[in-house]
Chain length 339, copies 2
């Protein structure tokens, strides 16, 4: 691989001049520059980005840490993150943490070692060591779909889960439902808690109380939704609608209902949260609360770029709105019809 030294020698000039041509520095004669550029072409010269990074203390790479690229949620965000960053000349190195604390830490260490310019992260574990690492970074960090812990002053980009849940409930109320079951995600998850809070507060605002038999928490998969529906119907049969904290749970519930010949929305209404692709399938048509996933990725990347440009380590967080998408799994309470 030829270096600027080779080019300089070939042309009988100094490496400084070659460097100036390469970086189109103004202090160079047009003809000299052209000669250098020609020689570079002849030699098939490619600048060594590693050497450049070393001296400029800027690697032009951004780290992206997500739990699992296989989750449509994260792949959608990762797609737009890459798009805007790459348009700005950055490379993105990505890591699936698989929600393993050691892998999260390993990533943060390599951010330090590789001199990455900034990172976008969706951490699941933030022990003291990880937070300490984050503090040592001294580069722009944005949290994506997670809130930064106390004492870490970095911005986040997320959706307003609480408000989204309230919207779903309001919609159900507007259809006359007041016995509404809830299929929750695990209680330790932040989003799970927020959506549950939306459910509870909405009921309370109307002077209703959640029937404890109408609330279940399990996992976040279709199987869990299926199981949850089974238990809900058993314990809270007067329920006319179900709010599932995510689409997978909602679809699992729909599956149970279909298997038991309970018509949706005739006998029971179901609403989800997320708006996954599958929610729109002909057989499903789940009404749900849409999260702008790609937009989240895009915003996170744009925010990071701004911080990089302005050389700030903090910025205003972004809370995006959800969007109620009404399909065919909710109808007015008490009115029996077949789907």
């Amino acid at each position: 691989m030829p270096t600027i030294k080779d080019i300089a020698k070939e042309l009988g000039i100094s490496v400084s001049t070659v460097s100036r041509a390469l970086n189109n520095h103004p202090d160079i004669r047009q003809e000299t520059k052209q000669e250098v550029l020609d020689a570079m072409k002849r030699f098939n010269y490619t600048p060594n980005a590693v050497a450049r990074s070393l001296i400029q203390r800027k690697s032009n790479t951004i780290g992206l840490m997500i739990p699992d690229i296989t989750d449509p949620f994260f792949s959608a965000m990762a797609h737009d993150v890459e798009e805007v960053l790459s348009d700005s000349g950055y490379q993105v190195v990505y890591v699936n943490t698989s929600r393993r604390p050691e892998k999260e830490k390993r990533f943060l260490i390599s951010v330090l070692e590789r001199k990455m310019d900034g990172i976008i992260v969706t951490p699941d574990f933030l022990d003291e060591e990880a937070i300490e690492l984050l503090h040592r970074l001294k580069i722009p960090v944005v949290f994506l779909r997670r809130r930064p812990p106390q004492g870490l002053n970095v911005p986040f980009v997320d959706v307003d889960h609480y408000k989204g849940a309230c919207n779903a409930m309001d919609y159900l109320f507007s259809l006359g439902h007041n016995q509404i079951g809830f299929i929750g995600m695990p209680k330790y998850s932040f989003t799970g808690k927020e959506r549950y809070r939306g459910y509870m507060d909405s009921l309370n605002r109307l002077g209703l109380e959640a029937d404890p038999r109408g609330v279940t928490f399990d996992g976040r998969t279709m199987q869990c939704g299926y199981r949850a529906m089974d238990s809900l119907m058993d314990k809270y049969p007067s329920m006319t609608a179900v709010f599932a904290a995510n689409d997978l749970l909602g679809i699992g519930a729909l599956e149970w209902l279909a298997e038991h010949n309970i018509s949706v929305p005739g006998q029971i209404s179901v609403i989800g949260f997320d708006n996954l692709e599958v929610a729109n399938l002909h057989w499903i048509k789940l009404s749900t609360v849409a999260q702008p996933r790609k937009e989240m990725g895009r915003k996170a990347a744009e925010l990071l770029m701004e911080m990089l440009l302005s050389n700030e380590l903090t910025a205003e967080s972004i809370l995006l709105d959800t969007n109620l998408v009404i399909r065919q799994t909710c109808s007015e309470a008490q009115i029996v019809r077949t789907r």
Copy 2:
């Protein structure tokens, strides 16, 4: 950020010694080493991987070029690629080409500039310039789900699409079908061509001929499958089964059939290809040809690691087998039953 120089000064020793401690080189006294390591801890020292890369001519990063991380196919592969590479101490920088030739080329150039150690690629455009770039790389390359062009001696990892298609057809034959329609992917795609070839050859092997009215090519989405089914039923009504070249197409076809109250598999059998998650949904249960996606990613990464270890620029390609997964959309021909 402290450097080895700071550590050396602190301890009154040379940077060489510090370096030796860092790389646990044998030529160092145990006590010296311990002192250095302690000082590093005190200083919160992190080695600068950029400097190390420059001198070692090895960046410990691998490039991963895929069309679109949002496609479950690629995200599954990307997941396992990252997993095995990161276990081997590599970082992966990933790029979505969005099937844009300029972006593919831009990626290859940055591979050169960033001195990446190897790449795994799924290119869609390989013009002379790109091939030339690939030649200049001089690092291990593995093609993932694509075949390298003539004259480029690099290994690939893919599934045997032709064989998979034959298996699907044989299954349909075994159920007594001999009027089988085909919903193809765009003709220019390699996988599309291979699966079509499997369809045609299978018919020919049985002395059958494809009815030209029974073959359509359009896109690769559900909408296309829906449209294709519409046209197939119109032009080739005697058909008893349909082989859709991918699951999305198959699901679109199922949707059309459901809307027109044509029972599956009672009146018509449908088989897909890919085994997407959705194919297993309660309402779909599409019989299909499964591709081991994660395994493809894993194998590609392992192959690359081997090449890196053995310092070879080429290796044996890997053709993985598909796997027929029988669900509920195919049954014996001529026997009418409701689903």
